[in-house]
């Protein structure tokens, strides 16, 4: 997997440096910092791995791409294209807009290979680009062969793995910190913060040891800057797990990003934290939405 990924990544970074980032004088003239930046960012999102290559350079030059496409006969002389269709053109084999061929890029071999490699891995690539502000290439790969650090948790007789990257902390619930909003959504006061409580057994419709909140554990998770407390019965071991897809033989399940096989041969499900938060939002409409959340914080 890594072998197939390294070439596209190197290529994207080269592209950002050569096509994206402008020369210092040009950058200065545009009012940008003379030093260009290329950001690489990788993270889990839902059931996928996301890798972003973002630069603060010139962005894709749509006029230039269109002109080059017309010259190379990729599109008709007077064909008009939507913005994302124009961006798509750079994935055409042999397509290049570079005026001069440099050591780094401009030979027109590249983006099509990048896309093919990523497709071979079952992934996709997207472009977001603003002229003058920079471009972001987003690669999404399925979580198949990936390994993940997981925290095993137990609810009743069910064992789930929560990705460690999503976990902020785990704590025993102090009942006095629990309050309810309009009698429905439960809120936990964690230091200066208010977290919505997600009772996982409710969301997943399974039987837990106890419904008394103080007898379980609250796992504080964070997704997109938004925190929530997932209520479970017990914390088990932390363990690296190999992610296996549920979709190969079954179908996508909301709140679950995959499955894994534990040491004893049994199967545990891996939680998709954003998915669980989403599920719980549908489950407890009041008290979880950011607006009500804020309202409570203000009231407090």
């Amino acid at each position: 997997m890594l072998e197939k990924l390294s070439d596209p990544l190197v290529h994207l970074v080269r592209n950002s440096l050569d096509h994206g980032i402008e020369l210092p004088e040009v950058r200065k003239a545009c009012g940008k910092d003379e030093t260009g930046r290329v950001h690489l960012h990788a993270y889990h999102q839902g059931g996928t791995i996301v890798i972003e290559v973002a630069d603060d350079g010139a962005g894709l030059n749509k006029a230039k791409i269109l002109q080059a496409a017309r010259e190379q006969g990729v599109i008709g002389e007077h064909e008009a294209l939507a913005e994302d269709r124009i961006h798509e053109l750079i994935f055409q084999p042999g397509f290049s807009t570079a005026d001069t061929i440099t050591d780094i890029s401009g030979r027109g071999v590249g983006m099509d290979v990048v896309r093919r490699n990523i497709k071979d891995l079952g992934g996709s690539i997207e472009i977001e680009s603003e002229e003058g502000l920079g471009s972001t290439f987003t690669i999404r790969l399925p979580l198949t062969l990936a390994i993940l650090d997981g925290q095993l948790v137990r609810i009743g007789r069910h064992i789930y793995s929560i990705p460690l990257v999503s976990i902020v902390e785990s704590l025993q619930v102090a009942p006095k910190c629990v309050s309810r909003i309009t009698g429905k959504g439960e809120i936990y006061k964690l230091r200066a913060d208010y977290l919505p409580i997600i009772r996982l057994y409710e969301v997943f419709n399974v039987v837990s040891d106890s419904e008394r909140i103080e007898s379980g554990i609250l796992v504080v998770v964070e997704d997109d800057g938004q925190r929530a407390g997932i209520y479970i019965d017990e914390l088990l071991a932390q363990q690296q797990v190999v992610i296996k897809s549920l979709e190969t033989n079954y179908t996508r399940v909301p709140g679950i990003s995959g499955a894994t096989i534990l040491g004893d041969g049994t199967v545990a499900l891996i939680l998709d934290v954003p998915g669980v938060v989403e599920l719980s939002r549908n489950f407890v409409p009041v008290g979880f939405r950011p607006d009500t959340h804020e309202a409570v914080v203000r009231a407090a």
Binding site: H158, I159, V203, F204, N205, V206, K244, S245, L246, T248, N249, Y250, T251, R252, V253, P254, G255, I256, A259, I261, G265, T266, V267, A268, L269, L279, N282, F283, P285
Partner: protein, 180 residues
């Protein structure tokens, strides 16, 4: 395309069905599936339940490193649930779907036999209208004095998983629970 297939295409609704069938027992009745679809037969053990799935999906198991979902055929056919004994088995079948081939397990009461069935031994299932769903019945055949129901396994899973997928947007389910 061989003659048999051509013949069958012209004389619908009987699809090609001749061949060997593995049969299993469900609530006293014998059911058969195309033996070429059978990957393996294994003893029933527990499965890891998947939240918010239809009742007849028993969960998933680890089949030598592959995650395989288990369909409870009794529940699928709305029969009375029983506690599975030590004769209960999982028949692992290869199921063809639009997206490719899937491996799925089916819990049944017991495995019975393998029969050779020729096309003329297969009778179409009588039409019950909407009272009994026969869309996944390929046909009926007689072995000795027993009736064997031949199942169209792709159809079974297709409708099964299709309804599962439909049932998945949990909002409706949750709304129902929220109301109570």
């Amino acid at each position: 395309m061989n003659l048999g297939q051509q013949l069958n295409e012209t004389t619908q609704p009987m699809p090609t069905a001749a061949g060997q069938y593995l049969t299993f027992i469900l609530a006293g009745t014998e059911y058969g599936v195309d033996i070429l679809r059978v990957q393996e037969i294994k003893g029933w053990d527990t499965a890891t339940e998947i939240p918010n799935t239809p009742e007849y999906i028993r969960g998933i198991i680890n089949l030598r490193g592959t995650i395989v979902p288990i369909v409870d055929l009794r529940r699928r056919f709305h029969m009375d649930a029983v506690a599975y004994g030590n004769t209960a088995v999982v028949v692992v079948l290869k199921v063809k779907r639009a997206g490719g081939e899937r491996t799925m397990g089916f819990v049944v009461d017991a495995v019975s036999d393998v029969y050779n069935v020729t096309v003329d031994q297969i009778k179409a299932a009588p039409d019950f209208g909407t009272s009994v769903s026969t869309e996944f019945v390929k046909g009926l055949t007689t072995v000795g004095d027993k009736m064997v129901i031949l199942l169209e396994i792709d159809q079974l899973v297709d409708t099964g998983v299709a309804t599962a997928e439909k049932a998945l947007p949990i909002k409706a389910d949750l709304k129902r629970r929220g109301d109570t």
